[in-house]
Amino acid sequence: MPDKPVLIIDGHLDMAYNATFHRRDLTQTVQTLREREDGVATGVSRHPDSLERRKGPEVHPPGTATVTLPEMRKGRVGIMVTTIMARVQAPSVKSHNAVRTQAAAYAVGQSHLHYYRALEREGEVFWIKNAKDLDACVAMWEDPTPETPVGLILSMESADPILGPEDVQAWWDAGLRSVSLTHFGANTYGHGTGTVGGLYPPAYPLMDALRSAGVILDLSHASDLAFWQVLDYWDGPVHASHCNCRALVPGQRHLSDEMIKALVERDGVIGLVFAEQMLNPGRDWDNPATHQPTATRTMSAALEHLDHICQIAGDSDHVAFGTDLDGGFGRELSPIDYDTIADLQRFLDIMRRRGYREEDVVKFAHGNLLRLFRNAWRKT
C-alpha cells in the first residue's frame, strides 16, 4: 500500500448540471446537500407575499447526493473532466432535462460554462486547458492542502450547444477539450443512446472543425451505427469517457468487444461508470422491465469491467475512472459499498487486493487519462 492516497482523475462528471438544474451548491459538503434536500428538514417562508405560497410541483433531485468539491478533495479526486450537458430532445419523464431548440441548448451550455467560470473566480477549481496547466495541477496535488482547487477539464455531452462549425474555435478558446456528438435520443448531429440510426450530415463539418481545433472525440452515447461512422471519418484522438462492457452487461449503451478493440487501437481510454444500470448483468439497458430502483452491486463489479478491457487490450493502459456519479442518479443506484466520491480511493484498494500492481493502479487512477490529454495536446 502507498503511504499517501493516489491522485484520481474522474473522466466524467456532470457538475454544472447538478449545480444549475438540481440547485446543488457543490462547494458544500455532501452532508449539507443531503440535509438541504431532505424535504422534512427544510423550512418554508411564512411571509404572506413569499413565493413559497404559490409554488407548484417541486423539483426532485435525482437521488441522494454523493459528489461535491470538498468530498473530491477528501478522496484526492484532484482532476475532473466535467461536462457541459444540454441536448435537443422532446422532453419526457425520462429526459426532463432535454430542451426543444438548439438556441436553448446553446443557452444551457453557456450557463454550465459560466458556472465553472464562477467557481474558477472563487478559486474552487483550476482550469486545465493545455499540457502546462495539466502538469501544474498534478504538481499541486502532489502535496494538497484543504483548499487546493480541483483541476477542471471541460467536456461536452451532446454537441447541440455548438450552433455550427464556425463556433468551435470559440468553444475551444473557452476551454472545451472533449465532445461527444450525441447523448440520449437523436439530436442535431445524429443518433444517440436509445435510438437506431447514424450521424446526420451536419456531424461531418462539425467533426472537421473539432479536429482542426484539437478537441478529443468522446464516443460514449453514440448509437452503434454512429460509433462506426465516427471512427470511419475521424482520424483524431478518441476516448469513451464513461462506458462499460456489453459482454458483461447487455444493452446498446455499453461497448462491444469490437468497439473496445477499436478504441484501444486508437490509443483511446475507456472510463468506467459506477452505476447499477451499467454494472448489473441482470439489467438490460434497453429493457425497462429489468430496471430496479436500488443498487445490488458493489464497486468490485466495476473491477470485472476493468479486467475485461485489460484482457482485450493486453495491457492496463486504456481504462480509467469515468464514474458519472450523480449524473442523473444518486447513492441509491451507485455501488452499495459506496457513499461519497471520496470512496473511489477504496476502489483502488480493491484493485490492490485483487493483485493489481501499484503501477497499474496508478495508471488506472490517473496515468492513462494524463497520457490521453498530454498526447492530444502535444501541439498546443
Binding site: 454544472a16 449545480a19 444549475t20 438544474f21 440547485r23 446543488r24 451548491d25 462547494t27 458544500q28 438541504r36 427544510t42 423550512g43 418554508v44 417562508s45 411571509h47 404572506p48 407575499d49 413569499s50 413565493l51 413559497e52 405560497r53 404559490r54 409554488k55 407548484g56 410541483p57 417541486e58 423539483v59 422532453p91 430542451v99 426543444r100 431548440t101 438548439q102 438556441a103 436553448a104 446553446y106 443557452a107 444551457v108 451550455g109 453557456q110 450557463s111 454550465h112 460554462l113 459560466h114 458556472y115 465553472y116 467560470r117 464562477a118 467557481l119 473566480r121 472563487e122 474552487e124 450552433l163
Partner: protein, 361 residues
C-alpha cells in the same frame, strides 16, 4: 380601427420560459400549449407569450430578463439558488438564450439610442420578420458576482437591474421578507451608477425601497409594479413610492399577474382552481391611478410579467395571449385618454425614459 400601436413591455421572463419552463418561444402560444406536459401547465399555467404572439400584438420592444436569485425555498422554478455562482451560471444562460435569438434574427438587442431609434422606426411598418427589440434586464442582482462585475454585464447589454426578487438576495431584502439593504448593496449601486445601469425598484421591501432612494441618485423605474391603493400588499407601490419614482423621472410598468391586480385572488389556491375578477380594465385602473396621482399620463407603462411563473389562468380574464394587450388602447381611449397619452402608456413613456437615461450619458 387604426393600425395597432407599438407596445413596449417592460418585464418579460422570456429566457426563464424558454429554459426552465422549456418552451420553444418561436412557436405560436397555441402550439406551445400542445407541447407543455400537464405538470408544466399546472405549475406554470398556459402559455401566453411567444414571439409570434408578440408580433401579432405589435409588442415590438420588450425588456427581457436574466432571472436567478439566492432563494433556498424555491424548489419550483429552478432559478432560486443557494450560492451566487449558481445564479451567475443560470443568469449567463438566460443571456446566452437571447444571444442565440439575436443570431437567428428573432430579436435585436437595444443597447443605445441608435438601436432604440432604429427599432422604433422598424416597428412603424413592421414586416413578418422584423426582430423584436430587446432591452436586457435582470431580476435580482445575484448573477452579478461582485460590484466589479457590473461593467462586464453592461458590456453584454444589461441596462436595468432590480436589486432583489423574492427572498433575500446577496444585496438586499426582497418581496416576502422584512428588512433593508445589505452591506454589499452600496458598492453595487455605485457600480451600477458608474456603468449606467438603471435601478429597477420592483421587488424591494419597503425599507429597502427608501434606502435605495437615499443612497443612489441615478435613474430609477419600476418594471412591473401595481398600486397598493388598489391591491393591498407589500408587493405593490404606495402612493408615496409612486410619487418618489415619478419625481426621479421614472416609469412604472403595470403588471398583469392576477395576484397583483385582484385583492380577492387567493394565493394559497392554485391558479387553475379559481377565476380572477381582474380584466384588462383592472390594468387600466392601475394606469389611471398613477395618472390621477401625479397629474399626467407620462409615467405609466406596461410591464406585464406574463408567463413569469403564471399563465392565462392568473392573467386578466379577457387575455388569452400577450397579443391582447392591444385591447388596452381602446380601453384607455374610452376612458378619455387622448391619443398622445395612449401612445405614451403603450410605448412612448418607456421610450422617452430610455432616451433620457441614455441621452444624458
Amino acid at each position: 380601427m387604426d393600425r395597432p400601436m407599438l407596445i413596449v413591455d417592460s418585464h418579460l421572463d422570456l429566457a426563464f420560459s424558454a429554459l426552465q419552463v422549456n418552451r420553444d418561444l418561436t412557436q405560436p402560444a397555441a402550439t406551445v400549449r400542445t407541447h407543455d406536459p400537464e405538470p408544466v401547465m399546472r405549475s406554470f399555467g398556459s402559455c401566453t407569450v411567444t414571439f409570434p404572439e408578440l408580433r401579432k400584438g405589435r409588442v415590438g420592444i420588450v425588456f427581457g430578463t436574466v432571472m436567478s436569485r439566492l432563494d433556498p425555498n424555491d424548489r419550483w422554478t429552478r432559478t432560486g439558488m443557494f450560492c451566487q455562482a449558481q445564479c451567475h451560471g443560470v443568469g449567463r444562460g438566460h443571456y446566452a438564450y437571447y444571444e442565440a435569438l439575436a443570431r437567428e434574427g428573432v430579436i435585436r438587442f437595444i443597447k443605445n439610442l441608435k438601436d432604440l431609434d432604429e427599432v422604433v422606426a422598424a416597428w412603424e411598418h413592421p414586416a413578418a420578420d422584423t426582430p423584436v427589440g430587446l432591452v436586457l434586464a435582470m431580476e435580482s442582482a445575484d448573477p452579478i458576482l461582485d460590484p466589479d462585475q457590473a461593467q462586464e454585464w453592461y458590456d453584454l447589454g444589461l441596462r436595468m437591474v432590480s436589486i432583489s426578487h423574492y427572498g433575500t438576495s446577496a444585496y438586499s431584502h426582497g418581496t416576502g421578507t422584512e428588512g433593508g439593504l445589505l452591506p454589499r448593496a452600496r458598492p453595487l449601486l455605485d457600480a451600477l451608477r458608474a456603468a449606467g445601469i438603471v435601478v429597477d425598484m420592483t421587488h424591494l421591501t419597503d425599507q429597502a425601497f427608501w434606502e435605495v432612494l437615499e443612497v443612489y441618485d441615478g435613474p430609477v423605474a419600476a418594471s412591473h409594479h401595481n398600486c397598493r391603493a388598489l391591491t393591498p400588499g407589500q408587493r405593490q407601490l404606495t402612493d408615496e413610492m409612486i410619487r418618489a419614482i415619478v419625481e426621479r423621472g421614472g416609469v412604472i410598468g403595470a403588471a398583469l399577474d392576477a395576484w397583483m391586480l385582484d385583492p380577492t385572488w387567493k394565493r394559497e389556491v392554485p391558479a387553475w382552481g379559481q377565476q380572477t375578477k381582474a380584466t384588462l380594465e383592472t390594468v387600466a385602473d392601475q394606469v389611471d391611478h398613477i395618472t390621477q396621482l401625479v397629474g399626467n399620463a407620462r409615467h405609466s407603462g406596461i410591464g406585464s410579467d406574463l408567463d413569469g411563473g403564471f399563465g392565462t389562468e392568473q392573467a386578466p380574464r379577457d387575455l388569452n395571449t400577450i397579443a391582447d394587450l392591444q385591447k388596452l388602447r381602446g380601453i384607455l381611449e374610452r376612458r378619455g385618454y387622448p391619443e398622445e397619452d395612449v401612445r405614451g402608456v403603450l410605448s412612448g413613456n418607456w421610450i422617452r425614459f430610455l432616451r433620457e437615461v441614455w441621452g444624458s450619458r
